[in-house]
Amino acid sequence: MYKLILSGVCFLIMASGFSQASEMAEIEGGTYIPLYGNDSLPVSVENFKIDKYPVTNKEYLKFVVENPKWKKSEVKALFADGRYLNHWKNDTELKSDELENAPVTNVSWFAARAYCKWKGKRLPTLDEWEYVAMADKETADARKKDGYNEFILSWYERPKSFHQEIGSTYENYWGVYDMHGMVWEWTADFNSVIISGETRRDENQDNNLFCGSAAIGSSDLMNYAAFMRYAFRSSVKGNYSIRNLGFRCAQDTNEEENSANEAL
């Protein structure tokens, strides 16, 4: 009898967790060779959890309501530039042609970070994000497959892809959606990318702008698709709010979601 109740409770918890937004996928750690790294040495990634979907307008709205300092009208310029939530009509309403379940964009890195903190989570590190993003539908590392790169490249050429509901692209090997084909996503250490915007110079070892750059190089220059992602990251600053840039949160495996939603 007792057991039965317990399992019933479990079932309830699972069901309530089914609102797709708060779902996270368990990612089994491992090593991978990033596009940019230390002499193409493998980087290891621990086990962690990551949101299955990017954070939506609807979810972000809840955050803003509970944390007024992140309202469009209240936010400090140091933390978010003038385009912050530009596609929202006001502090609490979307513009009429925007979708509630589309990924929230026009959010700064500071804002994305605060959101994840409020959820008891954190932003994924660049390595974590890239690790999950290597996957296609069937394999954990699909980077050498033609179709994988083509999908990403074709997204670069598709205008207004931010105007889609989450889950519209493929579910990858880890059960995570929309890593490619929807929006760019913030990572915790987005500013660890050392590209000056002058690619031709970045390949030159005598670089005055960055210390120790000789050890930084691209492990696969032919991987245009990823190359552009790094270029994008290197063009942004923490308070930039960009139409094609959203985020999702991550968490260490041993931590549970903070249901209390600690206020900030």
């Binding site: 500013n191 990318v193 050392i194």
Partner: protein, 203 residues
Amino acid sequence: MKLYKLMFLSILLLGTSCKNNENKSEKSEPVAQAEAEPLPEMSVFQLPSSWTTQEGEDIQLEELRGEVLVMVMIYTSCQAACPRLVADMRNIQKKVSEEANKETKYVFVSIDPEVDTPERLKTFAKENEMDNDQWLFLRGDLEDTREFAAVLAVNYKRISPMDFSHSNIISVFDKDGVLVHQKEGLGTDDTQTIEAVEQHVID
């Protein structure tokens, strides 16, 4: 042509001398009042992070309000560019007028807080003969350091257990912590950096 320059200069001088006077009269008022003014939105002092100095004291960035800050992010075990960033900072400090230096602090923020303990920062300061009030060495936790770098648009990445790759940027903040100037690259012309310091000491 020279005449033009002279005229321009004298206008500038006129302008600044007026300002100077105003400033003096303001100075006599209690400092507390100035600090009571709300921080500008773009002030770096909006960051809630706290930091430890080379003397082992904990400080909030806001405690630095009221001085012009020249800031750079380095790590002490760096052998490539950091000695040159240190030299650049030293040169700027040398070239800024004595008067202006009274209201200016030169701040090094470590991007490697795990290795750069206060003791280590202190040793570094001594080695580089920067062990006085003019120079400040700070370390914070990993998260706050990343955040601070985001504000400065400094990018960095650990590339080996000992080494980081990082942007070489020297930033100047006005007395309210608003970023007013950045100089990128090593050994590049520092005239504008010095001008920025001088100007914002007066403002």
